[in-house]
């Protein structure tokens, strides 16, 4: 189980139609690879975020498969076109079955 998992997202609150906007996301998570051993020599079980999805008004923007080599507190920055006002939904899927979500509204002027 990962503790203190907090998603953070930055999306501009407004944009002009068809504009490319930069979205930044970060989720605090240990991203335990499953390759490490503790002091007694036992394997520390893998516990990572394995998938990250962003949708805009239901349409997929990115869908990322994440692997154990990704560092602690994974950060993604990407560009998206916004044709109309709407909502970005961000979803992170944890190995332990937890799902973390965050959403941001954007207004097209």
């Amino acid at each position: 189980m990962a503790d203190n998992v907090t998603p953070r997202v930055r999306v501009p609150s407004s944009a002009s139609a068809g504009e490319d906007i930069t979205i930044k996301t970060l989720i605090s998570h240990p991203m335990e690879s499953g390759q490490r051993k503790d002091k007694e020599g036992n394997t520390i079980p893998r516990s990572i975020i394995n998938r990250f999805v962003t949708t805009f008004n239901g349409e997929t923007v990115i869908d990322v498969t994440m692997e154990p080599a990704i560092s602690t507190n994974p950060y993604f920055e990407f560009v998206s076109k916004v044709p109309e006002s709407g909502t970005f939904e961000f979803t992170w899927y944890d190995d332990d079955g937890s799902v973390y979500t965050e959403s941001k509204d954007i207004t097209v002027e």
């Binding site: 203190n4 907090t6 953070r8 930055r10 930044k24 970060l26 605090s28 560092s71 602690t72 507190n73």
Partner: protein, 278 residues
């Protein structure tokens, strides 16, 4: 002739000004940070003090300009969560006495400072533990433990932009002198003092890296090399270890004195923590 001399002088002056104008650090587009300042009077061999930020690459520097990009802020936010959570088994939290972290703005800038009740110089970590044990009656945090470093990062973050201003006169003076003594004493098999690197050679390379002035205005500091927040005393320990010496331990009287002295070398620079360094 006079005119020519004056032109020459103007040129020289112009050149100096141009040199001093490097990139500037503004956090979140609203907190200007002083990363260069005239050296405090007590410093004999340095004219201008510079934050460690000045010595880093543009990429590393950029991390600090935006809280979203600054990995150290994740820990400061954890500290903010802990601020209002009960300490140990008690029903007390930091927020029981201090309404919000913002009410403690400015504290970071004047620590370490003399505590008249205890009659000793206290670092901010000691003050935090005094609150935890004496006010709340809970168990003290480890000096360089994660909750402690998170809390000190939070306290630094609310003081960002304020000038470091630790008092070195009055009752703190003896401790300050002890710290100065340690700063100029050569330690370890390599026989290096703090000054050998951070005063005589700042700006030069140490293997593949630039030596900074060893300023601590940006602590606790997120280091890219170990991907965590590093407290001042842990950093001191790392430096002393690298001289191949037996180090003082974090929280020891020697490191407290050294922290006061090193902090006083940064009087005039802005509080910058949690800073990002490599």
């Amino acid at each position: 002739m006079l005119f020519r001399t004056m032109t020459a002088m103007a040129l020289v002056l112009g050149a100096t000004t141009a040199q001093a104008e490097g990139p500037e650090l503004v956090i979140n587009g609203e907190i200007p940070i002083t990363t260069r300042a005239p050296a405090p009077e007590h410093m004999e061999y340095v004219r201008e003090v510079m934050s460690g930020w000045e010595f880093r690459s543009p990429e590393t520097q950029a991390f600090e300009a935006d809280d979203f990009e600054n990995p150290g802020m994740i820990f400061a936010e954890d500290g903010r969560t802990a601020f209002s959570q009960p300490l140990g088994d008690t029903d007390q939290s930091c927020a029981s006495c201090h309404e919000s972290p913002e009410t403690l703005a400015g504290a970071r800038a004047v620590y370490p400072k003399w505590d008249p009740e205890r009659e000793e110089v206290q670092t901010i970590e000691m003050q935090i533990n005094e609150c935890i044990t004496e006010r709340a009656g809970a168990e003290a945090w480890g000096y360089t433990s994660q909750p402690m470093t998170n809390m000190s990062a939070l306290l630094a973050s609310v003081s960002r932009g304020m000038p470091v201003n630790v008092a070195i006169d009055g009752p703190a003076h003896d401790t300050w002198l002890q710290g100065k003594e340690i700063y100029y004493t050569r330690y370890g098999q390599l026989e290096l003092s703090c000054a050998n690197c951070h005063e005589d050679n700042y700006g030069n390379m140490i293997r593949a890296d630039h030596l900074s002035q060893g300023q601590i205005n940006g602590f606790p500091t997120y280091r890219l090399k170990n991907a965590k927040l590093n407290s001042v005393h842990d950093r001191f320990k790392g430096c002393v270890r690298d001289t191949r010496a037996e180090t003082f331990s974090p929280g020891s009287p020697e490191f407290i004195a050294l922290e006061l002295y090193v902090a006083s070398r940064g009087n005039g620079l802005s509080v910058e923590g949690p800073a990002v360094r490599n």
